[in-house]
């Protein structure tokens, strides 16, 4: 089916599947097939923040005083996160919007990707402040082999899905002769590519960020790079929400409640999905090794981070109905959780104990008692 930005065909949006139904026409939210996506949108909007609100000027002095191996840890993590958010700021839009068929999910995807652009802009905010020439850092991202290795594994699933859906939209199902080769395009295949892509995004947001998060918080525990930690904390809060969104999509697919064929595909892809988690865990451990190649930092070392990766991976696997892959253990760095808890995230220092920034939380239920004192 060719994509159209506004289908003139009247349809009942409540009967469309999340993906591969009729492209969304009217963006309406008075009715919801999956109300959870509307809730996620509201939550994400209530989280809104801007990097410029966080003062990072003190970090410059801290950074200059860090020993070289700790500067390496700090900068490498920033590079890696810059890569991840560069991907996330565009890919959900490019890959998923042409396939989505219910308005609340379409808007969740856009809201999600928009918040990723805040993350990207905040890295520039941080980097500009600590070094005189940000290009030195940004330019290394596409050449540093420790980063590039993972970039490929992350963008691959998006790219495959995008390529396949381009053919599908242009040519439809069937065998096509493209660029000198026969290519088989089927909806079933495309659905599978979508499922694996969502799985890989889930792994990205649920696991890949956490080693760098832990390092940022370890600096801040020592009173260093605190502006950075404040920003990372806001990013971490967003990421936990994004992860929840993707887990919902995957669980809806797995259950067959949304599209029965997706349940079959989920089952078929089970081993491949597990492998995605295992590969990510392994790569993140290697990342920890690279970070600490010239020395550890107080409160963290390779071993602890390896255990943390395993701990987080187990929890994330269970969230989507998989058997945990690693030995069960208690949290190896419990102090990290205090930084990840979103009930005490604060933006400006004068705002103590701010809970999440709920806006427009007006109680709209009115009973006769509320009006008792009014007279006409």
């Amino acid at each position: 089916m060719a994509y159209t930005t506004f289908s003139m065909r009247h349809n009942d949006q409540l009967k469309e599947p999340m993906f591969f139904g009729q492209p969304v026409n009217v963006a309406r939210y008075d009715q919801q097939k999956h109300v959870i996506f509307e809730k996620l949108i509201e939550k994400q909007l209530s989280f809104f923040w801007r990097p410029e609100e966080v003062d990072v000027s003190r970090d410059r002095i801290d950074y200059q005083r860090l020993p070289a191996h700790e500067q390496h840890i700090f900068i490498s993590n920033l590079k890696y996160q810059t890569l991840l958010d560069s991907i996330q700021g565009r890919s959900p839009n490019v890959a998923l919007l042409p396939l989505v068929s219910i308005p609340e999910l379409e808007t969740w995807i856009e809201t999600w990707a928009f918040s990723e652009t805040l993350h990207s802009r905040s890295y520039t905010h941080i980097i500009r402040n600590i070094v005189n020439d940000p290009a030195l850092i940004f330019d290394d991202i596409v050449t540093n082999k420790n980063i590039v290795a993972r970039a490929r594994d992350i963008s691959r699933y998006y790219d495959e899905l995008i390529e396949m859906s381009n053919y599908y939209h242009l040519l439809g199902e069937g065998q096509h002769y493209i660029n000198g080769r026969y290519k088989e395009i089927s909806l079933r295949q495309l659905k599978q590519a979508l499922y694996l892509c969502l799985m890989s995004v889930n792994v990205l947001e649920a696991i890949r960020f956490y080693v760098s998060f832990a390092c940022s918080f370890a600096f801040a525990e020592r009173g260093l790079m605190e502006g950075n930690a404040k920003i990372i904390r806001l990013i971490a809060r967003d990421e936990a929400l994004h992860m929840s969104g993707t887990q919902h999509m995957l669980n809806l697919m797995r259950s067959g409640a949304d599209d029965p064929e997706m349940a079959e595909i989920a089952q078929q892809c089970h081993e491949q999905s597990r492998a995605l988690f295992l590969l990510a865990a392994q790569q993140e451990k290697q990342w920890a090794d690279y970070l600490f190649k010239d020395g550890s930092m107080i409160g963290l070392n390779r071993q602890i981070l390896h255990h943390y990766v395993e701990y987080i991976t187990n929890i994330r696997m269970q969230a989507i109905g998989m058997e945990p892959a690693f030995e069960k253990r208690s949290h190896p760095i419990p102090w990290v959780n205090a930084w990840l808890a979103s009930d005490n995230v604060q933006v400006a220092p004068q705002e103590v104990e701010v809970s999440s920034y709920l806006v427009g939380q007006i109680d709209a239920t009115i009973t006769a008692d509320d009006l008792g004192s009014f007279e006409l």
Binding site: I36, K39, L40, K43, R237, A240, L241, M243, S244, Q247, H248, N251, I315, Q318, A319, I320, G321, K328, R329, S330, H331, N337, L340, A341, S342, D343, S355, S356
Partner: protein
């Protein structure tokens, strides 16, 4: 009214009305629970509810399978029994 009882297999705790969430009760008693966001959207605190009912102040956003609850944002509404896994 008698205190509500929170059982976890090995332990029985009386629910403390002054606490904001079930998670706080479990933490105060050093029981093995996880958490991350403490606001109902990350799912890290998820545990199985074997018996009884809980109440959420706001409907949570994290994925829940049948029989699972999020202690970070609920309180017991009756006597309850939880399945807590004890890691070594």
């Amino acid at each position: 009214m008698a205190d509500l009882i929170v059982s976890t297999g090995s332990t029985q705790l009386a629910w403390q009305g002054r606490l904001a969430t079930l998670l706080e009760l479990l933490e105060d008693n050093c029981l093995p629970v996880e958490y991350q966001c403490r606001s109902g959207f990350c799912g890290a605190c998820r545990v199985r509810l074997l018996a009884g009912r809980v109440r959420y102040r706001q409907p949570p956003l994290a994925c829940l399978s049948k029989g699972e609850i999020l202690p970070c944002c609920c309180v017991p509404e009756s006597d309850i029994t939880l399945a807590l896994e004890h890691p070594p």
